[in-house]
Each structure stands twice: as C-alpha cells, then as structure tokens.
C-alpha cells in the first residue's frame, strides 16, 4: 500500500508497473496530495474523463507517484457543474494540466489562482469542450482572435521580446515572451498549444490497434516510449503479459531510441554554441544508427514496431552482429567526442553555469526525467519500477547535482554509455525461437489501465479507459514535458538572452507531446 489515508481505499491494478487506484471524495484530494508531497512523491499526470454516458458525471484522475509505486485518485465530479479543489499550490506542475483539463473538458479547479486558457487558442468557443462526448465540432468552430494575458514586468529599461511561434529555423512552434533589461532575462513566460491536434479526441473513435499507431505519433522522437506505454496500459487493462522475447525486443527498441536522441541532442548542443564540428560528428553517428534501424527493423525511428500484446519486428543472428558492431563503433566514437567536448574551453565556458536549476527548486517544481536527474532528482522508472526485462538488467541511474547545461550534457553522456551497455546485455539475452506477439484484439469492458515507460526525455505515461463495450473511451498520453516546461521558465532567470536557445536545447522538451 503506497499511501495511507483513512478515506482512501486502494485496490491494486494489473500490469507491469506497481499501481493502485482508489475513488476519493472532493474534500480528500488536497490532503492526500499533500500527504504524498510531504513523503517526497510527485504528480505524474492529471486528466479528466466524461463518464456521463454511464450516469456518473465527469471524473478527475490524478496520478501520483512515490517510491512504492503509482496511485491513481479517481474523483467523481457532477455532470452539470464539475468543479474540484485546486492542487497547483501543492504540485506547481498541476497548474497547466488543470487549465488544459478545463479547456478540453470543462472541469474547473476552484480556488486556483490562474484560470487562463492553456491549450485553447481560439479554434473553438470557450463554452464548448472538445473531449465531452456530446461535443459538436461543426457548431463549435470559432474565429476569435487568440487573446492571452501575459504577466507584465515593469521597471526602467524593462522591455519584452516576443519569440515565436514562427522561428527563424525549422523547429516546432512555441511562443516565448521574455521580459528583459539589457541582455538579462527578468522573466520568461511560455505560451504553448500551437500543435494541438486533438490527439486525445481522435483516440476515442479508434480501435485498440489504430490507437497503437496514434500513440506512436504523439511525440515522434519518443515513438517507442509511447507505443510501449500504450501497449503496457492495454495489457494492464486486459491483464495479459506479452511473450518474453517481445519484452526484450521492446527494451532494445527503447534503448536504441534513447541512444539516437541523446546522440542528436549532444550534436545540437554543440551546434548551439557554434561548434558545428560536434554537430556534424554526432549526427553522422545518429544517422548510422537510424539506417541500421531501417535495415534491421524496417523503420528509422522504429514506429509501429510495438503493438499491444507484443512486437512486430524480430532480430536475427545477422542483425545482432550488425548491432554489436555498431555499438562498438558508437562506444569508441562517443568516447572520443566526449573528450573533445570536455576539454574544449569555449564549449565548457558556455555550458557551465548556464540555466542552473538547483536541486531544491527542481524538487519543489517536480522536475523529472533526464533534466531532473541532472538536478539530483533521482527518478528513473527503469531503476525504481523495473518492469521486465529491466528487472534483469540492473540499470545504473545517471545523476548529477549541478543542474546546469553542463550537468544535462554529462547525464546525457552517462546515459548514452549505459544505454549502449544495456543494448549489449539485451543482445546476449535475446534468445531465438519464441513467439513475438500474442496480439490483443479486444479489451475488457469498463477497464482502466496505466502504462509507464522511461523514455529518453523522462517517464512517458499512457492511461486507457474502456467503455461498456470494451472500446477506447478515453486515452490520456502524458509527456514529461508537462512537468519540465514550467521549470525552463525558472532555469533562464538571471541568464542572458543569447543563452536561452542553449538552455532550451539542453532540456529539449516536446511541443507535440504536451499540446496533444
């Protein structure tokens, strides 16, 4: 039992991750959250669901995590006036999730200080809510201009720079409002939601198999993590376990995704300090890995290789040899490049001290994933809740205390080498002959399952609810970027404007994953 509270009756959930769920009352939400927070726990995700079809009004789902496992608090809300107590003063990361929940579903956090819209940009009316089952898209179209009140900073010489959503380079859209004096950043406020595509709504009209494809496209750079988390959630609902070989292959895919992304990011971090040599070298390595992926598994980024119930691609002896050679090459090359990065005075001068997030602040704001580990937040799903096959891999967590760009680079390098080691170990354990999948066709009725996977950016969570026919009725994919975007606003405080792109890149958060 992860949390003890007199009014909380938890029941364990099936699946690869230790999780419990329990129904709570309105008045218990804040005390329980506070209890978890005081015990060092974090808010993992917050979403709502429309259960009016089964006469139950709305529901708010709050997913918390502490060192024993996940706890999902289900709070039933009235169908006509759905309100719930604000928890953003306990978990600051809840702020945007609550605002998004209102934009999409109309469930309202009372007492909360910040009720500005978050994901809604004016494409639909403020009085209509897309995730409601009775939402009429045609009637809700709106041409209103997107008015959003940024927090103003006043003082002599203070002015604003508005950056984005259209940038000078080809990157995802996001708006950043800087209040600066000279080159010094006094405040940064983000405005996201430009890539809102209605992903969650789309899930509701999909079959389980179609949903797996969509889950793999929530955030393209984490396709394996999302597909696995989705499959894990579905397997948790159906209470089945995929074949052993499928689990080993999933871990191999996930580590390859981590390796590819870390290689790419390390290159980008070099590029952002105009060290194009590093950029070119790391991207050559990344490209080789992606080409091997394409040759061996049929997709550069391994999309659609994980399905609920197993995997769709296998690895044979020849492929193992290719990967082993590639791993040896990567190990050698990355070690050389790390030496160059470490000994380059110009690079280190830019990296060290830039965008520092102190461990205390990181804990307070709930910084997670890779960025969290660089600020001494030692959370890694692969270590704390090792699902098969990670329970046999003995993953070494990489953590660092400094919390600056240099720390995030160090954690990337360390995780990269660990990832190479894990891949080697997986190859040894990947014995032939077994079946690849026991595909799931249909989920049980009125089910609820959660999947959580440590993607390269942080923990990727997917929650699946099924209706009375066993169809998907609500799927919530949750990206760690939800937690980390707000921390970026703090990381740049006191830094100078031209350092922002570097700091931003050192976090490298997903737009698509949080805009949904």
């Amino acid at each position: 039992m992860p949390i003890k509270h007199p009014n909380l009756h938890l029941e364990p959930m099936n699946g690869a991750i230790p999780a419990w769920q329990g129904k709570i009352a309105d008045s218990d939400l804040q005390p329980i959250c506070q209890n978890v927070r005081d015990g060092g726990g974090r808010l993992l995700a917050l979403w709502g669901s429309d259960q009016r079809a089964s006469q139950q009004g709305f529901a708010l789902h709050t997913l918390l995590v502490n060192e024993t496992g996940l706890v999902c608090l289900n709070l039933p809300l009235a169908g006509d006036h759905p309100v719930y107590p604000d928890i953003s003063h306990i978990f600051p990361a809840a702020n945007r999730m609550q605002r998004a929940a209102y934009d999409l579903l109309g469930i309202y956090a009372h007492e909360g200080g910040d009720h500005r819209k978050w994901l809604r940009h004016g494409a639909w009316h403020g009085s209509s809510f897309p995730l409601c089952k009775d939402f009429d898209a045609a009637q809700s179209r709106s041409d209103e201009l997107d008015a959003y009140s940024f927090v103003q900073v006043e003082g002599i010489g203070v002015h604003e720079i508005a950056v984005g959503p259209v940038h000078a380079g080809i990157i995802e859209p996001g708006h950043f409002r800087f209040s600066i004096v000279g080159e010094k950043v006094l405040r940064l406020e983000e405005r996201l939601g430009y890539t809102h595509k209605g992903t969650e709504k789309r899930f509701e009209s999909m079959t389980l198999q179609q949903g797996a494809k969509l889950a793999g496209r929530v955030s393209g750079d984490s396709t394996v993590a999302y597909a696995w988390a989705y499959a894990m959630a579905a397997e948790s609902v159906a209470n089945v376990t995929p074949p052993d070989r499928a689990l080993w292959l999933r871990a191999l895919f996930l580590e390859r995704e981590r390796t590819a992304n870390h290689l790419g990011d390390l290159g980008y971090l070099g590029n952002d300090v105009a060290f194009s040599f590093g950029f070119a070298q790391f991207w050559i390595l990344k490209e080789r890995l992606l080409r091997n992926n394409a040759a061996l598994f049929g997709h550069r980024y391994l999309m659609d290789k994980i399905i609920p119930g197993g995997v769709t691609a296998d690895l044979f002896a020849e492929g193992k040899r290719v990967i082993e050679e590639e791993l040896a090459m990567l190990e050698h090359e990355v070690r050389l490049l790390r030496g160059i990065y470490d000994e380059h005075a110009g690079i280190q001068d830019r990296f060290i001290g830039a965008g520092r997030v102190e461990p205390k602040l990181a804990a307070q704001l709930g910084l997670c994933g890779l960025a969290g580990r660089a600020s001494a937040q030692s959370w890694d799903t692969r270590v704390q809740f090792p699902c098969a096959p990670y329970d046999k891999l003995d993953v070494q967590m990489a953590t660092y205390r400094n919390g600056d760009v240099a720390a995030r680079v160090i954690v990337r390098f360390d995780e990269l080498f660990e990832s190479l080691r894990l891949q080697r170990k997986i190859l040894v354990n990947l014995l032939g002959g077994d079946e690849l999948a026991r595909p799931l066709v249909q989920l049980p009725a009125n089910g609820f399952g959660i999947g959580m996977v440590e993607g390269w950016r942080g923990e990727v969570t997917v929650a699946i609810h099924t209706d009375a026919q066993g169809n998907l009725t609500r799927v919530h994919p949750h990206d760690p970027s939800w937690q980390n975007w707000p921390v970026l606003e703090h990381a740049v405080l006191g830094n100078i404007v031209p350092d922002f792109p570097l700091i931003n890149k050192s976090f490298n958060l997903s737009y698509s994953g949080q805009d949904l």
């Binding site: 720079i161 080159e183 300090v273 070298q281």
Partner: protein
C-alpha cells in the same frame, strides 16, 4: 605617356572593381566549403553563394508595411560602401586612381557608415530582433573600431603614411624586414576581422537561433533583392577585410599600375592568398565555439591591447 598611364590606371581600377564584386561570393563559398570539409560534410559547393544570390534576385521582395525609405535604401548604401571600400584597397595594383580618395582612417569611416545605416534599418521596422541585433552590433563594433585604427597606425608609423598605397609600397619595395610590431598588429587584426565580419567566436553566420544572432538579427526582415544585396555586401566586406590584411602584412606579388604584364601574377597571387586566408578562417571557425556575448568585450579588448603593444614596440625598437 601621362595619358597612357591614366588610361591604364582606369583600366586597372575597372578590372579590380569588377573582380572583387565577382569574386566575393566565391570567397564566401570557399570558406563554407572548407568548413564543410573540416566537419566531414560534403558541403554545398563553391558556387552555392552565386546560386543563392540568383535565387534571391528572382524573388519578389516583401516589406513590412511600416518600413521607411531608409529600410529600402540601406541595402544599396551597404553594397555601395563595401564596393567602394574594396575598390580603394590595393588588391591587384598599387596606384589605383581611386586610392587617394580615402586613407585608412577614411576607410574605417566607410565601414562605420555602412554599419550606421544597417543598424538604423534594423531598428526601422520596430521588431525586437532588429533592435537586439543593432544593439549588439554597436557593442561589438565600438570595441573593434579602435583596435582596427591602432593596427593601421602601427603600419602607418612604419611607412610614415596613412595612405594604403604608400603603406603597401613600403612593404613591397623595401628590402624584406621582419617587423615585430606588425606581428602584434597582425594578431589584433585577425581578431577584429572575426568580430567585424560576424564570424565565430563572436557571431555565427550560419545560425538559425534568432536570440543569439548579431548580424543576422539585423537583416531578418530583408528578403529577395534587398537580402541579396546585403549578403553580397557581407561577402564584399569579408573580401575587403582579408584584402586589407594582405595589403598590410603580405602584399608581395601586387602589380604596379603601369605594369600590364604583372597583372596575371598579381591576380594569381591574390587568389592563392585569399584561398589560404579563407581556409585559415574555416580552420579557426571549426576549432572555436561561440563565446558568451559578454566575453566579446574582453576578446576585442585583447585585440586593442595587442595593437597598442605593436605601437609601443615600434617606438621602443623602432621596427
């Protein structure tokens, strides 16, 4: 005889003016190609800047609705200034008819004039980036200019003239002497060249990160023929700077105006020197990372210090 010399002079002037305009994008292409090679990339080829210019000249220009005539005319002024500068500097021959028009101090003035216009144009539209870029450009250039002047003064002290032709003549025609003061001035000049031409480690000419830009931030709002002229002017500026470096430190091989036969050798020597300088620039840019913008004052302060040291050494050693 006099008339003959004048005609030849005009011919040489014409030849150099056309040559620099035609050659400038090639130099940029060469630097980029060298950078690509040094990074294990195949690169876009030497002729890419020409293709870019052609593309830009064929596009329709887009102007902000609040752009004033200043914004529209600046690309032409910029291009004119850089072309003029490149025409004054003895690049292929010494006694060009245009050369007496401006001495080294006036040359610095020509560069400053272009900078004032591009900075004003950057602020003209009223975007945050334009002002940001203009502000940073001024920070960098007000530190670079005195260092450049000091470099010029060191050479002027040796040749007793601020006229570039005289300086070049002194160095080419007198017997070969190593000037310690020039070594310091040369180092200072390289730093100034990097800063003034928006190169790494002060600025990054190939960045897409608008918040880190200096020169690029100022020209973000330009498009089509305006952008083409601005880009071409940047290439000309790089060529002009490298040519100043060549004229001050390694002028050997340059032709005399009345010596028609020396021209092929002069052009060959020029091409070789430009190629070496471009490759050197690429090597520097590959080794260095961009520094924090507030390190730029230290960096340029070093240039000034070195140039002053050059001057002092000249007085102390008389060399």
């Amino acid at each position: 005889m006099m008339a003959m010399k004048q005609t030849l002079g005009i011919l040489f002037q014409l030849c150099q003016s056309l040559l620099v305009v035609a050659l400038a994008p090639l130099l940029t292409g060469w630097v980029n190609q060298c950078r690509a090679w040094l990074q294990n990339r195949s690169g876009a080829g030497l002729l890419q800047p020409y293709r870019t210019l052609r593309k830009l000249f064929h596009k329709d220009a887009v102007l902000a609705y609040n752009a004033s005539p200043l914004f529209r005319t600046t690309p032409y002024i910029l291009f004119g200034c850089m072309w003029l500068a490149a025409a004054i500097i003895p690049i292929i021959a010494i006694d060009l008819p245009f050369s007496p028009a401006a001495d080294v101090i006036a040359l610095v003035g020509v560069f400053a004039l272009a900078r004032v216009f591009i900075s004003l144009a950057a602020m003209d539209i009223g975007t945050a980036f334009g002002s940001l870029g203009a502000r940073r450009e001024m920070l960098v250039s007000f530190l670079a200019e005195p260092a450049l002047l000091m470099v010029f003064f060191t050479s002027s002290l040796i040749s007793h003239s601020t006229q570039l032709p005289h300086i070049v003549e002194t160095f080419t025609h007198h017997e070969f002497v190593l000037y310690p003061s020039l070594a310091f001035a040369g180092l200072a000049f390289v730093i100034v060249l990097l800063a003034e031409n928006a190169r790494i480690p002060v600025d990054n000419p190939s960045t897409h990160l608008e918040l880190t830009m200096i020169h690029e931030a100022m020209i973000l709002e330009y498009s089509a023929r305006h952008l083409a002229l601005v880009e071409w002017a940047s290439s000309l500026k790089l060529l002009a700077y490298i040519s100043i470096g060549i004229a001050l430190f390694v002028p050997y091989g340059i032709a005399e105006v009345d010596n028609w036969h020396a021209l092929p050798l002069a052009i060959t020597a020029l091409l070789v020197k430009l190629a070496l300088a471009g490759a050197g620039l690429a090597v520097l840019e590959t080794f260095l990372a961009k520094m924090r913008i507030f390190r730029a004052p230290e960096f340029l302060g070093t240039a000034f210090l070195l140039a002053v040291l050059g001057l002092l050494i000249h007085f102390l050693l008389g060399a």
